[in-house]
């Protein structure tokens, strides 16, 4: 019951650049990560932002990225460091 992705699934964040209110940060677009947690389903904030109901609800995941995947060495981090973001299913693609 974790929606389209199971824990441990490898995913890629969509490259999309839609105008308007978006909850997936730019620095992760197109990056590959791993689903580490499923939070349940929530109204779509990108529709709630325009006064809509946000329905149907979307599955929300915590996705883990290595710092190297994200910054390709250009940052102040140690080799094993990571970053996570909470990403709705509509922003993820299976790998």
């Amino acid at each position: 019951m974790t929606g389209p992705y199971s824990i441990g699934a490898k995913v890629k964040v969509s490259q999309g650049l839609p105008p308007g209110h978006v909850r997936t940060p730019l620095f992760l677009r197109g990056r590959e990560g791993e689903v580490i947690r499923h939070f349940g389903d929530f109204p779509n904030p990108e529709r709630l932002a325009y006064g809509l109901s946000g329905l149907p609800k979307l599955h929300l995941y915590q996705v883990l990225f290595t710092m190297d995947e994200t910054w390709e060495g250009d940052g102040a981090y140690a080799p094993g460091d990571t970053v996570t973001a909470d990403i709705y299913e509509t922003w993820l693609e299976p790998l």
Partner: protein, 107 residues
Amino acid sequence: MTERAISDLGGLPGGPIDTAEHEPTLSERRVDAMMMLLRAKPRSFWATDENRRTIEGLEPKTYAESAYYERWVLAMRGLLIEKGVLSETEIEAKLSEVRARHAEAGQ
């Protein structure tokens, strides 16, 4: 080419963090309180995401140069008009009155 939303800051360069503590001012507390009251039940005039969308819609210069609660009060103004709670005309009239009152009090 990629359009970065003005609020989407992750990974941008920046200077050192100023960790000085700040006790919220009365104006800041009032903005915070009003925002909560207007957004929460029973009024529910707008969703948190509408507030975010409105803040992101501020002119980039305004977003960059304004303080946190300044952005909030500007968003509140926009949303109160958008939702038909207040009109732009009455806000401008009241604002003139407040400025005048303040100028007088400051004499």
